[in-house]
Symmetry: C2
Subunit: 310 residues, 2 copies
């Protein structure tokens, strides 16, 4: 298993470095780099590198974490569909990021790529691995061309691996990033997948890397396009209010966040996803023909963005 | 059952009116009063009155809701300890409040009193009812005398019902209002109880009323004492940061909030508890001898406040 782990670890660390460098280039600010280890006295052993830029000119809070944890026995939740792996030692590696821009016209973005690998036959036997992750976009003011570009880039990253993946992962993303208590989508979606191994180890891993590699081309052109848009108090207030939805989704519905916090994960790394400044107010209403209402009525509904873009 | 429901409904509506009047008196602001009903097409029928004051001089966001819902069948979660009630029609009534003051020296407060009543023997038979609720205090800057006063008032409200209730409910509160992912208490505690009926219907209800009635004397003297304390940017920043903990507790750990949102409750009424403005920042540290650090080290640990006050 070690060769696989080394390969994925190297890829993920490079991905984290590329992405944070690209953010530094556009923002001018500096990431705090916080390497951490969880010792043998903890439930899970492991290490990670948390990188976070706070108070930047473009990004108000941009967190990008790498983590690599090892466990003696796969937890029951992970072996529900793989009873043959119950009790096997495992390792889980991933990169996860959420970027909260300052300008309300720049959307918030989330990306995660992860692998869980187990060695049920012992160290020398072939490892079993499965993959998960995706990326999704959360605008505060909607632009059709941004949504189309984001989805087109996700589509193209998956296309080499067969035509069925993108529609499946796109629908999975819409189903997952839904605030059921509001009847609202979190944003305009993207792709989401979990427990993925159906293409075999090598090709599934290649697909994961293709997803990770599409993050910068999917998101950065949108940042470049929108970051200089003038805005005032109205747009800022709307952004802070909508950020509350991001908090609600992550703390109430996101399985990774919820499970991580309840099972003794590293709180400050898990909560990299929280926005820097958030408001709640009671039953905020928007004018019928406003951009704010159009976000709700048009952009925050599951929609076939590739068809919209034709 | 109707006589019991009417009695409790009348009490709770008066309690809500008294409390919001007291807030209006001290704040000068006005509550928005939002009566609502859930129609027969919804899972639960019922009605309520949501009252909320936003942007007041003393309270930045103060929500106080009354709700009264009826269901055809008790859900399994409610009959775990009462299998004889499975499937019985029920009604649930309560008042719930969270007040977020503007001045960081004034603590946030939460109170809830509720009754669930079922009529397993039909409308004419004696109803079965049980009670829950409590109140707890969340300071941003700790004052021993405030914590002692709050706990003393809770103690005195329970004292007529026997000497064992306060220690039990105080410990229950400490156990419940704990952010396990942080290893922190939410605040300095208070009292918490659930599923309570052991004193019989009449006395248990009298106890609930005693708890509801102690809210104003427990909290308002603290508001009066602290609301004029001068503060600056440092205290404000600390308050906004600590409010993030309130959000984390309510969305991740609070069973009422979590269950309410996931089971189709009225979102905007459930989220009355959210603060108006909140920040998150990575691994915020306080100077070793600061008031902010003392909050963590001294006030946010379970503590026998009545003994501290001697």
């Amino acid at each position: 298993m070690n060769a696989l782990i080394d390969q994925v670890r190297t890829y993920l660390l490079q991905l984290q470095a590329h992405i944070t460098q690209a953010v530094t280039d556009i923002d001018g600010g500096t990431f705090v780099v916080d390497p951490w280890t969880k010792g043998p006295e903890e439930k899970l052993q492991g290490n990670g590198i948390t990188k976070i830029l706070e108070g930047g000119s473009v990004f108000e809070r941009a967190g990008c974490g790498f983590s690599h944890v090892k466990g003696a026995q796969l937890p029951p939740s992970a072996t529900q569909h793989r009873p043959e792996l119950a009790g096997a030692p495992f390792e889980a590696l991933g990169v996860s990021l959420v970027f909260h821009p300052r300008n309300p016209y720049v959307p918030t973005v989330h990306m995660n790529v992860r692998m869980i690998a187990a060695s049920p036959g012992g160290e020398k036997a072939a490892p079993v691995a499965w993959f998960g992750g995706g990326l999704d976009l959360t605008p505060y003011y909607g632009f059709k061309e941004d949504a189309v570009h984001f989805h087109r880039t996700c589509h193209d990253a998956l296309a080499p691996f067969g035509p069925t993946l993108h529609p499946r992962f796109k629908a999975w993303c819409d189903a997952y990033f839904c605030l059921k208590h509001r009847g609202e989508q979190r944003g305009v979606g993207g792709i989401f997948f979990d427990d993925f191994s159906e293409l075999g180890l090598d090709t599934s891993l290649a697909m994961l890397q293709s997803v990770g590699n599409c993050f910068l081309p999917a998101y950065m052109p949108i940042v470049n396009q929108r970051a200089q848009t003038p805005y005032g108090e109205r747009e800022r207030e709307h952004q802070l209010y909508r950020r509350g939805r991001y908090v609600e989704f992550n703390l109430v519905w996101d399985r990774g966040t919820h499970f991580g916090l309840q099972s003794g994960g590293r709180t400050e790394s898990i909560l990299l996803s929280m926005p820097p400044l958030v408001t709640w107010s009671y039953q905020r209403q928007h004018a019928a023909d406003s951009a704010e209402q159009r976000l709700l009525d048009y952009f925050l509904k599951p929609r076939d963005w590739l068809a919209e873009g034709v």
